[in-house]
């Protein structure tokens, strides 16, 4: 008489994975809600400076970006700071047209609420930045934001 039950060769039950898609979907929704679409791929390096008195930019759809910094592909384009508008390199002269284009893309009601965010590398010389600012003034895009990171205490 067997004292212990002889283990029957039971098929080891498969782990129930029916909730796995749900978990992944939750992750997916998290990312869909918290992130925004990448609009441009950066061609210049923009390590923005640190500052303590910074504000968050509300309404991402009303922000247009101007990137200034040394090109990432410095073998091809050199080390001097360049301006990037949308997806390509540009010169100071293109700024007026860029502002007009950004305005065209927005609703009529929102056109004067556009903020221009300057993402400028900290090593950039002010000369370029000043030129860009003058151009922005000329095309009366007066709300600007100097992009900066929160300073570590």
């Amino acid at each position: 008489m067997a004292r212990f039950k002889v283990k029957k060769d039971k098929e080891s039950g498969a782990i129930n994975t029916s909730s796995l898609p749900d978990i992944i979907f939750m992750l997916l929704f998290f990312f869909m809600v918290t992130t925004t679409m990448r609009e441009t791929s950066p061609k210049v390096r923009t390590k923005v400076p640190e500052a303590s008195q910074i504000q968050k930019l509300e309404k991402k759809s009303l922000v247009s970006y101007i990137l200034i910094g040394p090109p990432i592909n410095h073998r091809l384009y050199g080390d001097n700071s360049r301006i990037q508008l949308d997806d390509q390199f540009a010169t100071v002269k293109d700024i007026g047209e860029f502002v007009a284009r950004e305005r065209q893309a927005r609703n009529e009601a929102d056109r004067n609420k556009i903020t221009t965010s300057l993402k400028v590398d900290e090593s950039t010389k002010m000369g370029v930045v000043t030129d860009v600012k003058q151009q922005l003034r000329k095309s009366s895009a007066l709300k600007i934001n100097y992009s900066a990171r929160r300073a570590r205490k």
């Binding site: 994975t17 029916s18 796995l20 898609p21 992944i24 979907f25 992750l27 997916l28 990312f31 869909m32 918290t34 992130t35 925004t36 679409m37 990448r38 923005v48 400076p49 500052a51 303590s52 008195q53 910074i54 504000q55 968050k56 930019l57 991402k60 922000v63 903020t115 965010s117 300057l118 400028v120 590398d121 900290e122 090593s123 950039t124 010389k125 002010m126 000369g127 930045v129 000043t130 030129d131 600012k133 003058q134 922005l136 003034r137 000329k138 009366s140 895009a141 007066l142 709300k143 600007i144 934001n145 100097y146 992009s147 900066a148 990171r149 929160r150």
Partner: protein, 192 residues
């Protein structure tokens, strides 16, 4: 009644589909919130506009040269002491000729006249100044004015400026502590 077994739909690949979607979103989106110092540029100047004459005593001149060195009112300065200098400059000393003049200003919300400093901070930088330094100076100036607002706010309402909820109070503080920063028209101060 005989129960007929409905064939189960194989849902094993739903996870894979969800994964694919997830990866797509991970790649195409960014998470960073843009933060920065928000400023308003002055409107473009007309050609024949005359320069506004400001009494020398009312201006704190800050110059940044191409080697990122500071000159505050003719003296070598340091970024770290800039804040205290600005706060000191903007404080009210009507009878001391070293400090800016004061003028009375009627504030509607308070219903009375308040003495305000006529001081202006003029910031001028060279084309060769690095952007990092420029932001540092801007940040110090912003810090100085923020601290003054805090002071005023604590004095009047016992709360810091950021803690004020009543928009009317925020407005009053903003009127009591104006931010008179003027950026000079660009100029080549000293070679790149």
């Amino acid at each position: 009644m005989p129960k007929r077994a409905t064939p189960e739909i194989n849902a094993g690949s739903t996870a894979d589909i969800a994964f694919l979607l997830l990866i797509f979103f991970l790649v195409t989106t960014t998470m960073d919130v843009d933060t920065g110092i928000i400023r308003k540029l002055p409107p473009p100047v007309e050609k024949n506009q005359e320069d506004v004459q400001v009494n020398n005593r009312n201006v704190l001149k800050i110059l940044v040269n191409s080697h990122d060195l500071l000159l505050i009112d003719g003296e070598r300065g340091d970024v770290n002491t800039l804040k205290t200098k600005v706060i000191d400059f903007m404080s009210l000393h009507p009878n001391d000729p070293k400090y800016p003049e004061v003028k009375p200003k009627f504030i509607k919300e308070l219903g009375k006249e308040v003495m305000l400093s006529k001081g202006v901070i003029s910031l001028k930088n060279d084309r060769g100044t690095s952007y990092g330094m420029y932001i540092k100076v801007q940040d110090e100036l912003a810090k100085a004015f923020h601290e003054m607002k805090d002071q005023k706010s604590i004095q009047m309402y016992g709360l810091k400026y950021d803690q004020l909820i009543d928009q009317k109070k925020v407005k009053i503080i903003n009127k009591l502590v104006p931010v008179p920063i003027s950026e000079a028209e660009p100029e080549n101060v000293g070679g790149e």
